[in-house]
Symmetry: C2
Subunit: 449 residues, 2 copies
């Protein structure tokens, strides 16, 4: 894993007075050791200058890395500079419940609740019927949703497709829940046949189902109506809880024409979304919304007199800056702005897929998704250069609002140039990825038409 990042970090430290200590277990990372400051005005000035120097170089490094990023679903194009400048001197902490004010006054609940109301409206649940909070990341939203499911059905079995985000399996392990992995279709969607078969093997226990509204790797969407139908017709009526992991798509799908709705009018229990993905945010954050009737199950056990509040959140202390930034972003963009951005992502994703395919590169783009899956590039340096996320034979690009046509062209050109070398101008056969993304999307010698 020694690639361009590692090298640039080593460079970062080379002409820096802070000693660089390479780590034994840490291939590719070099730490900027903290040294004890010396006494005296000159020493303090020298120390401050050396810190400044590290930061300036770090910023250059971040700029370059931000420019060459395609693999993770993060919109890296945002500008909260003026808001953050105003608030960076305060320790804003939304301790405990968003709806119950604690004694700690340096909070941002008035912004947080506005953000929650906005999402509740988006996902169609009334103010008095929902509970939720701004989380520290998508994982926390999944951890919360699945915990609510477990509290509703303590002996419930968790069902999640094998292409589910790893945080869901982590939750099962943390919470000591029985967990059944369900097969997926080539698209990445949950296999209905397998879900039904596995439900029937466990008829005696309630079902807690994680539905993926956009899988991590292929951006596949599980059909909520179908999940509900399968549950109900197999004897699970009133004995199921559905958590929707909508990390990325929870904010995009509502803006696609003809996309199925993420709505609490369907019998779902909770929805979580990330705040740093489609909207963009300088720190990971997210939102989880659940039904207020369930929240009581958690809060009864979590009265905290010390805070004069209730703590039903996973984390106790919660970053109060994130809700203000989300409030700012949503207030300025509005539904219209987000719709425009979401549709642009879809268009650019189609452009990327077409450019890949016309260049003879196997690629898949699921409907309702801006995640373009394609043959994994051979050279790890290239993967690192563009920060592609990979799994097995495939890699993906998640087209976010900051991924422009110009950037896509730059990427494609570089990829094609590299491929010439990797496949020696066609002398080496291209890999078959039919198993990963389907025959119809594979352009290997065997499958291309």
């Amino acid at each position: 894993m020694v690639g361009s990042i590692a090298n640039s970090l080593v460079e970062l430290g080379e002409d820096n007075t802070t000693p660089m200590v390479p780590l034994v277990d840490n291939v590719g990372t070099t730490c900027l050791a903290i040294t004890e400051p010396e006494v005296g005005k000159e020493a303090v000035e020298a120390k401050d200058a050396s810190i400044e120097d590290v930061l300036v170089k770090y910023v250059e490094h971040l700029k370059e890395r931000t420019q060459h990023h395609l693999g993770y679903p993060y919109n890296l194009d945002f500008d909260y500079g003026s808001v953050i400048a105003k608030l960076s001197g305060f320790s804003i902490n939304n301790l405990g419940d968003p709806f119950i004010e604690s004694n700690y006054g340096v909070h941002s609940r008035q912004f947080e609740v506005a953000v929650l109301d906005w999402f509740a409206h988006l996902w169609e649940i009334n103010k008095q019927d929902y509970w939720g909070y701004v989380t520290s990341c998508g994982t926390e939203g999944n951890l919360h949703g699945i915990l609510v499911g477990r509290e509703v059905f303590p002996d419930g079995i968790l069902y999640a497709s094998k292409e589910t985000h790893y945080s869901v399996f982590k939750a099962a392990r943390m919470y000591r829940m029985e967990c059944v992995k369900v097969e997926t279709l080539v698209s990445g969607e949950i296999s209905w046949e397998d879900l039904q078969a596995k439900l029937l093997l466990n008829r005696n226990k309630p079902a807690i189902v994680n539905a993926n509204i956009g899988t991590t790797v292929k951006g596949a969407v599980d059909d909520l109506d179908k999940v509900i139908q399968i549950l109900e017709r197999n004897g699970f009526k009133d004995r199921f809880y559905i958590h929707c992991d909508s990390a990325l798509f929870g904010l995009m799908m509502p803006f696609f024409n003809q996309a199925p709705k993420i709505t609490f009018k369907k019998p779902i229990g909770s929805v979580s979304v990330s705040g740093h993905k489609f909207i963009g945010c300088p720190m990971p954050c997210g939102v989880v919304i659940t039904r207020s009737i369930y929240e009581k199950k958690l809060s009864d056990f979590n009265q905290v007199e010390y805070l004069a509040s209730v703590d039903s959140t996973i984390m106790g202390s919660r970053n109060g800056l994130a809700p203000v930034l989300l409030w700012h972003g949503l207030s300025r963009k509005g539904y219209k702005g987000l719709r425009k951005a979401a549709q642009k992502c879809l268009r650019n994703a189609i452009y990327l897929k077409e450019r890949l395919r016309e260049s003879g590169i196997s690629a898949l783009l699921n409907p309702l998704s801006s995640t373009v899956v394609f043959e994994r590039p051979i050279d790890p340096t290239f993967i690192q250069q563009w920060q592609l996320a990979c799994e097995g034979n495939i890699a993906h690009v998640v087209v976010m609002p900051n991924i422009t046509i110009t950037k896509i062209d730059e990427f494609i050109e570089e990829l094609l140039e590299m491929r010439e070398a990797w496949f020696r101008g066609g002398k080496i056969a291209k890999p078959c990825v039919a198993e990963n993304i389907g025959r119809e999307n594979c352009l290997c010698e065997l499958h291309k038409i």
Copy 2:
């Protein structure tokens, strides 16, 4: 709970164009609803102006609240403005393991590992023997430490004193662990007698003990040597795991003369500390350190190919700004600066306790602690005004570096003035708090000497 905070928030919105929606379930909080922006240059400018207006008023509110804050262990005096200004345009995310670089290049692992190394050195564990990460708050550190304990001893029983932070009991519930509450002494320290008695009732199962290095309410420190001694002499040798919740004191105690050491040379399993408390940070964060031999137990189950990393952390996405700020704070302050600040806190805490007692107010200050516990003020408005944390008959002030003698004097004067009114110049008897803080600290009619 309608007090000064609620009122000031209502005022915040009064002359603001954004509609203020009072929440049904949310006494004392008024949310700043997000409205859809209108189209057109003028409408956009008006919207931006209204957003700016909300933020300017919010900043004024935060300033006032920051000035009148005594109850929570947060050092509100820090200045990372220039660092944050440099970094606020990037989405820095330390996905997964701090020691294994993922494909996502916009990270701050080189700073994070430096911070971890610094704490490992402080708590005396070698680089190759520890594992840890920068968490999103103290709770995450406790959740991680206790999870490690449970993975080491899957059938272990969690023992925690009843004055333990609520996150530990939340962990027990989340992790489906058997949990035994242990009595405390008046000081807040764990009762050795009761710990021994309860251990003996459960000899057949390993013990996972949460030791408080500073309880939340009284700042009491459990004696690690004694905990270990009790475990070993009651047949738990090699069958126990100790997690140290050092949220506040983990960074202060090492700088007090004659304080017992928090050290991995003792058979402890993990230590967690908050980053936004004694050091001060604009967002909650923390550090957890455990032994690398244990970390393997978690990581074996959490290989994440998609990230090209391992995820043994509770949260998957991790705020990359916090490690840079911690690195900056620790680099500039160093051991010397922290020692000076910690000792000043102790001196000021003694000053506060003495001023309270000479004014006839019952008060307790534990050794090694800067948490001054005293009679709960009668008027909730006063409690909110100074943001005191309360439990039953008692309130506390946690003396942090930003709590100066001037501020203490201001607080005492206001308190004395209010008390004149509350107790009608002595016509109403002062409450007895002997049960909460001990006879020797109680100045009620019955107990004062």
